[in-house]
C-alpha cells in the first residue's frame, strides 16, 4: 500500500513522490551505549538522501539496522508499505541492497563471480536441476552471467570481469561492490562511504555513477564524510550526531546550519574528532 503519504518533515523535493522506506524511531543500544537513538527517516522513490555525521555518530549502525544485520532495540523499518523482518536475506529480497564501509567483497572470487553471487536471490535453480544440468539451470546460468557482465559494464568495469577481486585497485573494488549490490535488483541502494580513500577524479567518477544509478529509477541513501560530494549529490541530507538526528533538510539548509559545522569542528563541550 504505497500511497503518496508524505512524512511531516518532507520538503518540496519529494512532494508527490511515494514513500519507499520509512524508518520509525529506530534505536540501537550496545549495552550502555545508544549508538542509534530513535532515528526517523523517509526515502522517496528516485531520491538521493545523504547521511552525514562525525565519526561514531551511528551512521553505519543505522544502516545495519535498516538492512537487518542488527536487530534494532526498538523501532521498525517499513519498506514499500510492509514491515521488514530483521533478516538480511528478506531485506535484499524486498529490494534493498547495500555496500560496506570497509569493502567486503569475496576476495578470492573473480569480479564477474562476485556480481553473479549478487544474482543469487533472484534465481532459484536448486540442487537437482544443477546436478542434471536441466533446462532451468542452463537458462538461469546464462542469464546470470549476462546480467553480471552487463552490470560490470554499467559501473565501468567492462573487461575486468576475470580479475580476482582481491587483486583489483581500490577504486575498482568500490565499483565492484556497487555492481554486486545492483545485481540483487534493488529498488533502494544504501552506500556506506562510497568514496572513502578515493582521489578527486575517482570521486567525480563515483558521483557520476551514482547519478546514473538514480536515473535508472533507484532511490539511494549515501553515507559520506566528503561534504562537497554530499551536497552536490543529494536531494536531502540527514545529519546524525551521537545517534540522534540533528537536522534534516535540503543540501542548502543543512550546509548552512551552524549546528552541523559545530558537530564536525566541535564546540568546547564535545570531544569529536575534527578530522572527520
Amino acid at each position: 500500500m504505497s500511497t503518496a503519504v508524505l512524512h511531516p518533515e518532507t520538503d518540496g523535493h519529494a512532494v508527490g513522490r511515494e514513500v519507499m522506506l520509512r524508518a520509525d524511531k529506530v534505536t540501537m543500544k550496545f549495552g550502555g551505549l545508544t549508538a542509534v537513538d530513535s532515528v526517523d527517516m523517509t526515502v522517496h522513490n528516485g531520491e538521493i538522501v545523504g547521511l552525514i555525521g562525525p565519526n561514531g555518530a551511528g551512521k553505519t549502525t543505522f544502516f545495519n539496522c535498516l538492512t537487518g544485520m542488527y536487530l534494532p532495540t526498538s523501532g521498525q523499518v517499513t519498506f514499500n508499505g510492509s514491515v521488514l523482518p530483521p533478516k538480511p536475506r528478506e531485506v535484499v529480497k524486498a529490494g534493498m541492497a547495500r555496500t560496506f564501509q570497509n569493502i567486503r567483497l569475496f576476495p578470492n572470487m573473480t569480479a564477474l563471480e562476485n556480481v553473479m553471487v549478487g544474482r543469487y536471490c533472484r534465481t532459484s535453480s536448486g540442487a537437482f536441476t544443477s546436478i542434471i544440468h536441466g533446462p532451468k539451470y542452463r537458462a538461469e546460468e546464462i542469464a546470470t552471467r549476462e546480467r553480471a557482465a552487463e552490470l560490470l559494464d554499467f559501473v565501468g568495469l567492462g573487461g575486468e570481469g576475470g580479475h580476482l577481486a582481491r587483486n583489483m585497485p581500490y577504486g575498482n573494488q568500490r565499483r565492484l561492490e556497487i555492481a554486486r549490490a545492483l545485481a540483487t535488483d534493488p529498488k533502494l541502494l544504501l552506500l556506506d562511504e562510497p568514496t572513502a580513500g578515493m582521489n578527486p577524479q575517482e570521486t567525480k567518477d563515483a558521483e557520476e555513477l551514482i547519478f546514473r544509478i538514480r536515473d535508472t529509477g533507484l532511490a539511494i541513501v549515501v553515507i559520506e564524510h566528503d561534504m562537497k560530494f554530499i551536497f552536490n549529490l543529494c536531494d536531502r541530507v540527514l545529519c546524525l550526531v551521537r545517534g540522534k538526528v540533528l537536522i534534516e533538510g535540503t543540501a542548502g539548509e543543512v550546509q548552512s546550519d551552524p549546528r552541523v559545522i559545530e558537530a564536525y569542528i566541535g564546540s568546547p563541550k564535545t570531544k569529536e574528532n575534527p578530522d572527520a
Binding site: 538480511p88 536475506r89 529480497k93 576476495p107 578470492n108 535453480s125 544443477s130 539451470y137
Partner: protein, 579 residues
C-alpha cells in the same frame, strides 16, 4: 648484464653442473649392486643388470639431467637463431629448476629408503653394497645443488600451441600409464618395494607439476573433459582385469573405493561449503546399519527386504535425516561449535548402536556384536558373490563390488562437480569467503549449509549401504572417530575442494597402511608427522582447488598473479576456452 649478475649466473652454472654430475652418479649407481642378498627389495644384487627399482632410479636421474641441462643451455639457445631459438623460447616456459628440485627430493628419499629397507630386511647395514652408497651420494649432491638454485618464475605452459590429437593422446597415455603403475604397485608384496615405487611415482608427479607439464596436461584435460572423464572411468573399469582374479588386491581396491567415495562426499561439506564435520563416519554407519537391518541376513531384525535400490535410497534418506537433525540447530552458530557437535554426534551414534542390543534398548542391531552374515547382493539374478569369467579373466566377488562402487563413485563425483559449478557452488564460496557479506547479498546461508550437510550425509548413506554387503558384517566399532579423522585427513592431504585431490589422498591413506602392515605399530606416528608436514608446507593439500590455495595464502602475491594468469582456464564453464 652487470658484472655481478654475470658472476651470479656463472655461480649458478657451477651448481647446475654439480647437480648434473650428481644425477649422473645416481644413474650409474643403478648398474652396480645395491645389496648383498637377493631377498632384499626386488633383488638388487647384480652387476650391470639393474632390477626394476634400479631402472626407476635411472629414469629419475635422466629426468633430473634433462631439467638441469635444459636450464643450463637456455641462455645459449635464446642467443641462437632458427629452430634452436624456438626451442629456447619453449624451454623458457618450463619450470626446470622446480622440476629438478622435486626429482632431487625424490631421489634422496629413494636412496634413503632403499638403504633402510635393505638394512631392515637383511638385518644390518653391512648387507649394503657400494652401489647403494654411491646412489645416496649422487642423490645428496643433486639435492644440495638443486636446492641452491633459484626457482625462478612459475612455469606457464597453458598457452603453448598444441594439437587436439596430441592432447588426447597424452591424456590416454597418461591414464594407461596410471593403470599399469597402480597394478604394478599393488602387485608388490614387499612393503619396501611398494614404498619405493610410490616415491618414484611421486617424484615423477612432482617433476611434472614443477616443470609445468602438469598444468599443460590439466589444461588439455579441461579442453577435452569428456575424453578425460570417460577414459578415466574406462581405466578404473579395466583395473580388475589386471588382477587375474586376485581377491586380495581387489578387496583392498574395493575398500579404497568405498573410502574415497565417502571422502569425496565429505569434501562437499568440508571443501565446498567449508563446514568442519568431525563425525561424518556416523552417516556412513547409518547407511550401513540400515542396509544390514533390511538385508536377508538371519540376524536382520526387520522382516522386510526391499530391492537393493530401495535400500540404498532409504539408507541415504536416513543418513540425510540424521544430518538435518544435527545440522538444523548447529549450523546457525559459527564453525567451531559445529566441529564439536559433529564430533559428539559421531560418538553418540556409535554408543547408541552399541546399546540397541535388547537389554539397554530395543534390539535393533544386536549391540556391539552387530549384524553378521549379510548375504551378497543379487541384482536380477546376478549374484555378487559369484566369480564370473569375462574375456578369459576371472572377476571375483570383490571385482563385482568394485564395479558397483564405481557406479556410486561416479554419481558422487557428478554431484560434487556439478554443484561446485552451479549457483549453489558460488553461494558456498561466498559463504566461505565472508559469511556476513554473503548474507547481506541475499545468499541463503543457513539453507546452503544445511544442503551441504544433509546432501553429504545422503551420499555417505549410499556408500554405507554397499559397504554393509562388502564387509559381510556391520559392527558399531567400525565407525569410530578415528575413521572420521582419516576421512578428513584424506581431504587435507589430497586437496580441499577437488575430486582428484581427494581420490589421491584417500588412495594413499587407505592403500599404504594395507601394504605396510609390518609398520602398523607406527601408523599413527607417521600419519601425525605427515599431517604436521603438510600443514607447514602445503596446507591446501597436494592437488588443491585454486581458490582454496588462495584462501590459505593470503599474502602470496606470486600465487595471485599465477592464478590470475590461469583464470580463464580455471573457472570458465560455458564459453569455450580462448585459444
Amino acid at each position: 648484464m652487470t658484472a655481478s649478475a654475470t658472476t651470479r649466473q656463472r655461480a649458478y652454472n657451477v651448481e647446475r653442473i654439480v647437480g648434473l654430475v650428481g644425477g649422473l652418479i645416481f644413474a650409474v649407481s643403478a648398474f652396480f649392486p645395491w645389496a648383498y642378498g637377493h631377498e632384499a627389495l626386488d633383488d638388487m644384487a647384480y652387476f650391470g643388470s639393474p632390477s626394476p627399482l634400479q631402472w626407476f632410479a635411472v629414469v629419475m636421474a635422466l629426468a633430473l639431467i634433462n631439467c638441469l641441462a635444459a636450464s643450463l643451455l637456455e641462455p645459449t639457445l635464446n642467443n641462437s637463431t632458427g629452430f634452436l631459438k624456438l626451442l629456447g623460447r619453449i624451454s623458457k616456459r618450463f619450470g626446470w629448476i622446480r622440476g629438478a628440485r622435486a626429482l632431487a627430493i625424490g631421489m634422496l628419499a629413494y636412496a634413503v629408503l632403499a638403504i633402510l629397507a635393505v638394512a631392515l630386511e637383511l638385518n644390518g647395514l653391512v648387507n649394503l653394497e657400494m652401489g647403494a652408497w654411491v646412489a645416496l651420494v649422487g642423490a645428496g649432491i643433486a639435492f644440495g645443488s638443486s636446492m641452491m638454485l633459484p626457482t625462478g618464475r612459475a612455469p606457464f605452459l597453458e598457452r603453448i600451441p598444441s594439437y587436439p590429437v596430441l592432447e588426447i593422446a597424452t591424456i590416454a597415455l597418461l591414464l594407461m600409464g596410471m593403470l599399469f603403475a597402480s597394478a604394478y604397485a599393488l602387485s608388490q608384496e614387499d612393503g619396501g618395494t611398494f614404498l619405493m615405487v610410490l616415491v618414484f611415482i611421486g617424484a615423477l608427479a612432482g617433476f611434472a607439476i614443477g616443470s609445468g607439464f602438469g598444468s599443460w596436461v590439466a589444461t588439455a584435460g579441461r579442453r577435452h573433459r569428456t575424453v578425460l572423464v570417460s577414459s578415466a572411468f574406462l581405466v578404473a573399469f579395466l583395473f580388475p582385469f589386471t588382477q587375474n582374479g586376485s581377491d586380495a588386491n581387489m578387496s583392498i581396491a574395493t575398500q579404497v573405493l568405498i573410502f574415497a567415495a565417502t571422502a569425496v562426499g565429505l569434501n562437499i561439506v568440508v571443501g565446498l561449503a567449508g563446514l568442519l564435520d568431525l563425525g561424518y563416519i556416523a552417516f556412513l554407519g547409518a547407511g550401513a546399519f540400515t542396509a544390514a537391518v533390511l538385508s536377508e541376513s538371519a540376524f536382520a531384525t526387520i522382516n522386510w527386504h526391499p530391492p537393493f535400490i530401495v535400500v540404498m535410497l532409504l539408507s541415504g534418506c536416513i543418513s540425510a535425516t540424521l544430518g538435518l537433525i544435527i545440522g538444523s540447530p548447529t549450523l546457525r552458530v559459527s564453525g567451531d561449535y559445529l566441529a564439536i557437535v559433529t564430533l559428539a554426534f559421531g560418538e553418540i551414534f556409535r554408543i547408541t548402536m552399541n546399546n540397541l542390543d535388547g537389554s539397554s534398548g530395543p534390539n535393533l542391531v544386536h549391540g556391539s556384536s552387530g549384524i553378521p552374515a549379510i548375504p551378497n547382493l543379487n541384482f536380477f539374478g546376478f549374484d555378487f558373490g559369484q566369480s564370473h569369467v569375462v574375456a578369459g579373466i576371472e572377476l571375483g566377488r570383490f571385482a563385482n563390488y568394485f564395479f558397483l562402487m564405481l557406479v556410486i563413485m561416479s554419481i558422487i563425483i557428478l554431484v560434487f562437480t556439478r554443484l561446485n559449478h552451479s549457483r549453489i557452488g558460488r553461494g558456498w564460496v561466498a559463504i566461505r569467503e565472508d559469511e556476513r557479506a554473503a548474507e547481506a547479498m541475499g545468499v541463503n546461508v543457513f539453507g546452503l549449509k544445511l544442503l551441504a550437510f544433509a546432501g553429504g550425509a545422503f551420499l555417505a548413506g549410499f556408500a554405507g549401504a554397499v559397504k554393509a554387503h562388502v564387509d559381510v558384517s556391520v559392527v558399531p566399532d567400525q565407525y569410530v572417530f578415528l575413521e572420521s579423522a582419516f576421512l578428513l585427513a584424506a581431504i587435507v592431504l589430497g586437496g580441499m575442494g577437488t575430486v582428484m585431490g581427494v581420490l589421491l589422498g584417500a588412495t594413499l591413506l587407505k592403500l599404504v597402511p594395507e601394504k605396510l602392515r609390518f609398520m602398523s605399530d607406527y601408523r599413527m606416528l607417521i600419519f601425525g608427522l605427515l599431517m604436521v608436514v603438510m600443514m607447514r608446507f602445503r596446507p591446501e593439500g597436494i592437488i588443491p582447488n585454486q581458490r582454496r590455495a588462495l584462501e590459505f595464502h593470503v599474502d602470496d602475491e606470486e600465487l595471485v598473479e599465477d592464478v590470475e594468469e590461469r583464470l580463464p582456464y580455471e573457472f570458465v564453464e560455458f564459453e569455450e576456452v580462448p585459444a
